[in-house]
């Protein structure tokens, strides 16, 4: 939580290698697997097929089908076996092919992985990772497009990571693998092909640390995952209108870097919280509550606003689908309205 005293991301000045979010994940997995023989991958079609979204790619060729392990379609066992392996010396990285399928693994993740350490009086650690592609935008309809991160942010014992950039996709993943707790990483399908600068070496990004991606003083756009690049794009457009938005990338929902969020709210006095997940019961409510409960409350110049997914399942048709999730223009409009309040 050093962010409060160090509020702005350092500006990258040197030209760096650009790789996609998916490649960054694969590179992180490859490097960590080379470093640590305890790490193995397990999931559906992650081997020869290379993963439904191509994330694991050719890893099976380097590490073999023992360490890049295809399973039958059996999500409960995928989660459960990660637990069993984690508590007996391994470092499993499991994949749910779509995050929607985690509905079949809730018992193992929530009742077992999250609680085991606490229930057993601290006698055990459960160092495992579950990677899950989430979000809409690919026409995959209601059962393949959800954003369910809020559920897990509600579960003590789990950590929840939402990387927004290729850099974070790699660094937060490595940190997650080395973490001694069960960590869920929600990757956004539409980000997989987005490029960004990624250091070629192994590195970690601290779990539980938000980042101010863009400084500003007129309002705070608090976002995570795909809503970060959208908020940054919106901020550029807003800047053309003379509105300087500060963009905070939450990065990790549990543990949550409340200090950075509250500092930004206090600094700008106007807050728009943005996520793709359905608004009601979404994690945005938690962020709003943290601000509303905090010392920033007295510095607010307008009601806190949320911009989030509509109160519907995700529809198939492209225009319908697009309408259910905040787009850049929606952020611009909501921000504009907020600074006028």
């Amino acid at each position: 939580m050093t962010s409060a005293t160090q509020p702005y991301a350092e500006t990258v000045t040197v030209v760096q290698r650009e790789v996609t979010y998916a490649e960054a994940i694969r590179e992180g997995l490859r490097q960590e697997m080379r470093r640590d023989p305890r790490v193995f991958l397990v999931g559906e079609d992650i081997g020869v097929y290379g993963g439904a979204f191509g994330v694991t790619g050719d890893l099976v060729h380097e590490f073999g089908s023992d360490r890049v392990r295809d399973t039958p379609i059996a999500e409960e066992v995928i989660a459960g076996l990660a637990i069993g392996a984690a508590i007996t010396g391994m470092r499993p990285v499991a994949e749910m092919q779509f995050s929607d399928f985690v509905t079949l693994a809730m018992e193992q993740l929530v009742n077992q992985a999250a609680k085991m350490r606490f229930m057993l009086g601290g006698k055990i650690a459960v160092p495992m990772v579950v990677r899950m592609p989430g979000g809409s935008g690919t026409g995959a309809a209601a059962q393949h497009s959800q954003s369910l991160e809020a559920w897990f942010a509600h579960v003590p014992g789990l950590k929840v990571v939402m990387p927004a950039t290729p850099h974070d996709a790699k660094g937060l993943l490595i940190a997650a693998i080395r973490d001694l707790n069960p960590v869920l990483v929600f990757e956004h399908k539409l980000l997989y092909r987005v490029k960004g600068s990624v250091p070629p070496e192994l590195y970690t990004e601290e779990l539980g640390k938000a980042l101010v991606r863009r400084p500003g003083h007129d309002l705070s756009l608090i976002a995570y995952s795909i809503m970060v690049p959208r908020a940054l794009e919106a901020a550029e457009l807003l800047a053309n209108e003379g509105i300087e938005a500060e963009v905070v990338d939450v990065r990790c929902l549990r543990p949550l870097d409340e200090a950075t969020i509250v500092a930004s709210a206090r600094h700008t006095g106007r807050v728009l919280v943005i996520h793709e997940a359905v608004r009601s019961g979404g994690f945005g409510g938690e962020i709003v509550a943290r601000i509303a409960e905090s010392e920033a409350f007295d510095f607010l110049d307008a009601p806190i606003r949320r911009l989030a997914g509509r109160e519907t399942p995700v529809p198939y048709n492209r225009a319908l689908e697009r309408s259910t999730v905040p787009q850049v223009e929606d952020i611009v409009a909501a921000a504009r309205a907020l600074v006028r309040e």
Binding site: E44, L104, G139, Y316, N317
Partner: protein, 312 residues
């Protein structure tokens, strides 16, 4: 049997056209084609009455057509249009034809099986004579839902037919690696249910096995498991590069084309003339063209009042 051939041709043509539309960038989303599996869809559904129910899968176009769905409304749904079966909300993976007894394709592997138990129970409780046939893939047979559903259907003697389309792969996972046994139908024994494996590319074999299971269900004697061995000619979905199987294997299965097989048989048996077969194919092509035209003429759905449609 001529009806069967026509349905199979219709499915093949629908799928090929769907693929073309997709290639031409006219479809946003995913699709799972059932080319090569037409006999299992048609053979199974022909053994049902119109008032019976089916539950379908992500690879569901064939089931839906076999159950008598309107091709135009299917195509419109595939293209995400307002006059599609789901008004463009569901797409390929969720096409349903409630009035026709198709309770819907499903994007979640094996998810139809617990629901089928409920349909069966509902029939039993209401003393209705209808049967529920649940399609699922080989991959689905390794989900926990399969086990729970077959067990409950067995202990309550529900009028359900569990119909497994074993096309040898669950995405890239070969049945050789996913199953410790040769036959999926063998699992029926664990629930004291009849279980049979049939050639899923042989329309009559599928029909026969299903008819027996349906009769048993309708007579109140309970559920059955059928495994129909078949093969999908296309990749799992459009992102599939077929890295997990050989071109040789695909070619060998194409030799066993269920449509050619039935056609040859009908002609050999004197039930069909070559010319009739050609006419049938031509008619199907027209039907599909009309379906595409219907779909293309259908308006895009309106995003405005989406929230109002979530609750009844």
């Amino acid at each position: 049997m001529r009806e069967a051939l026509q349905l199979m041709l219709r499915i093949r043509a629908f799928e090929e056209t769907a693929e073309q539309l997709y290639m031409r960038g006219l479809v946003h989303g995913t699709m799972h084609l059932s080319i090569g599996q037409e006999a299992s869809a048609v053979g199974a559904v022909l053994a049902l009455e119109p008032t019976d129910y089916i539950l379908s899968t992500h690879r569901g176009h064939g089931h839906c057509i076999a159950k008598g769905a309107d091709l135009g409304r299917m195509m419109a749904e595939f293209m995400g249009r307002e006059h599609g079966y789901c008004r463009g909300r569901g797409g390929s993976m969720h096409i349903a034809d409630i009035d026709g007894g198709n309770l819907g394709a499903n994007g979640i592997v094996a998810a139809g099986l617990p629901i089928a138990v409920g349909v069966g129970l509902s029939m039993q409780l209401q003393a209705l004579p209808h049967v529920c046939l649940a399609f699922f893939g080989d991959g689905a047979a390794n989900e926990g839902a399969f086990h729970e559903a077959l067990n409950v259907a067995a202990i309550w003697k529900l009028p359900v037919v569990f119909f497994c389309e074993n096309n040898n792969y669950a995405m890239s996972m070969s049945v050789r690696n996913a199953f410790p046994t040769e036959l999926i139908s063998q699992r029926a024994q664990a629930y004291n249910l009849p279980g049979v494996t049939v050639d899923g590319n042989d329309l009559q074999a599928v029909y026969g096995a299903t008819a027996a299971a349906v009769a048993r269900a309708r007579a109140g004697a309970g559920a059955s498991l059928i495994e129909a061995r078949t093969y999908r000619w296309r990749g799992h979905s459009k992102s599939d590069r077929n890295l997990y199987r050989t071109q040789q294997e695909i070619a060998a299965w194409k030799e066993r084309d269920p449509i050619a097989h039935l056609r040859t048989q009908l002609i050999a048996d004197g039930l069909l003339q070559e010319a009739e077969a050609e006419a049938m194919a031509a008619q199907v092509r027209e039907e599909i063209a009309a379906a595409v035209a219907f779909a293309e003429a259908s308006p895009e759905p309106d995003p405005r009042d989406l929230e109002d449609e979530v609750y009844a």
